[in-house]
Point group: C2
DNA sequence: GTGAAAGCGCTAACAG
DNA sequence: CTGTTAGCGCTTTCAC
């Protein structure tokens, strides 16, 4: 990095003290005349205040940390986009880390953020409570996005969160399927997303449909695991007529597995995926989905973390939308 | 941010000077005995050196900047993933910014990076040379990924780049289509990606197929613009039998437009997309694609920027792969 | 081998 | 209203 123009250079060139320059640039009091001169000189010298110096002095960085499981996943990509948009509006840099959705990666990234002095982070937590202990101890302001951590008696449980309203999303989808005449409906979810499974059970119960635990299965959010789970489900229970899947990875697996097993959608099986992605519309038939507001979740979480909210317990829940396309039909 | 443990705390607790602590932690010389004691105390106090202090002192940040047009786009997501992976291996934080693929957004993000003292950046440039002037002036090390900027007599033109070998990718695809008997092949590209169009023309010429300029059209990488371009192409020239599209946005548009116009793939028209995405396999029929090594591009570019290479002129070109699925057939 | 001291660029007291 | 000064946490001479 070449020698940069410092506040001292500006001060000298403008014939004032460094403090004056600092004041002018941060909107403090100064005479009109001085202000103009300083501003002119600063512009002329192409002066940019060093965030390093400022942050060190103020013992805090302006930056925001963003921790997501996988930047490659469409859902997290959209969430990240919301975070970047909000941060940019606030002029804040964003340090992004991919955790791989495991505690180890999460802990490592948190360590890096701590080292950088980043004191505000938006995160899709891996589910483990331990990695967050050092962060909280250091006084980081954190807001969870899309997921919460079931902090037992822990502080982690009190971290504010911005979530999709999955309960109502799943409920709407189940009601839709049941309304179409389906009774043997499966839920293919991601491990750790027990909220959706619970909503699935509750809705079925409320509608008087018997709950078949064998139809509730989980897979990890990797292609292989998801495919294995989907394929296993279809083969084990060829009598099912409808499936609701968790995230896009599971949805993709379900589409692929159904095709592989020569199951026709929606004639043989109706499909609803929890997540809307570009390819949902390209599918044949186009996929009916529960669309979570991924981008908004990121945006809102960032707003929250920027406002340094007092610990709040009630998570913010953003509405989902059932987008009906062509993957559901009446019970065969 | 709560008061953090500083090097001074460690020094006092270990009964040594701060300089000694600094040396021990950065692998300098120290007696075995001292080293052990310092390390023990540091661990016990959960000490993390502040990157802020270090960076200020050394007048450089360790961090890496990453500038991409749109984090939501699968291709850039995979590229970013490669960058994050390499950076993580090096223990470096990554500040990422979405430029929106325009000079203004790019300039703004470069400004933020400059302010943060980030001196190494990997970027997918918007195409404009101006935003980079301040960065270069400040002595930033930059490596371009996926695209270059045609620096006229400019320094920007000398910035190292890691690219997909689009020439050979496009050539392979054209040869494949021509081998299938197609002669009226269209190219639907992104504005600014003239390299691919050139490769398209060259290959056609080499194979003795007449070049029809009307079949070479461009769209911007937005859903609307891409769809308009694709739809216009199909309607204007119903005689075409094959299409090669630029990035996934154009490919998606082509699939949608073809469906809308009741063109059967591959019976009526054969389709090849430049980019491999999850949905390519879910499409009906599954899409044949030219797969660029997006992740590798990001990874390599980061390696390069980390090694602070001397300006090199030859861009690194990474091979693409033609993945044959089901969207191409013999000429009807 | 080790400690004291000088800053890196900046802001916040504190004087004037 | 403005300049001087003291650090923020760290690395790096420079003596000892």
């Amino acid at each position: 990095m070449r020698a940069r123009t410092t506040i001292k250079d500006v001060a000298e060139a403008a014939g004032v003290g460094v403090a004056t320059v600092s004041r002018v640039l941060s909107g403090g009091s100064a005479s009109q005349q001085t202000r103009e001169r300083v501003l002119a000189v600063a512009a002329q010298l192409d002066y940019r205040p060093s965030a390093l110096g400022r942050n060190l002095r103020q013992r805090r960085t302006g930056g925001i940390g963003l921790l997501i499981p996988d930047i490659t996943d469409s859902f997290y990509g959209r969430l990240a986009d919301g975070v970047l948009a909000c941060a940019r509006a606030a002029g804040e840099p964003v340090i992004v880390g991919a955790t791989g959705d495991d505690a180890e990666g999460e802990a490592e990234m948190i360590g890096i953020l701590l080292e950088q002095g980043v004191d505000r982070v938006v995160a899709v937590p891996s589910g483990d409570t331990e990695p967050w202990a050092p962060a909280l101890r250091a006084g980081m302001t954190v807001v969870f996005a899309d997921r919460r951590v079931n902090g037992r008696d822990d502080m982690v449980g009190a971290i504010p969160a911005v979530l999709a309203d999955e309960r109502s999303g799943v409920r709407t989808a189940v009601e839709y399927l049941v309304g179409l005449g389906h009774r043997r409906i499966a839920y293919l979810g991601g491990v750790g997303q027990s909220g959706r499974a619970a909503a699935f059970r509750d809705t079925l119960a409320a509608l008087g449909v018997k709950i078949d635990e064998e139809l509730i299965v989980f897979g990890r959010a990797t292609r292989d695991s998801a495919y294995a789970a989907a394929s296993g489900l279809f083969q084990h229970r060829p009598d099912l007529t409808g499936v609701i899947t968790g995230g896009n990875m599971l949805g993709e697996a379900a589409v692929l597995a159904a095709r592989e097993l020569d199951l026709r959608v929606p004639r043989d099986v109706s499909l609803i995926m929890f997540d809307d992605v570009p390819w949902a519309e390209l599918c044949a038939p186009p996929l009916t989905v529960i669309a979570p507001p991924a981008r908004d979740i990121g945006y809102r979480a960032t707003e929250l973390v920027l406002r340094t909210p007092g610990r709040r317990t009630r998570p913010v829940r953003l509405p989902t939308e059932l987008i009906i396309r062509g993957s559901c039909g009446p019970r065969r």
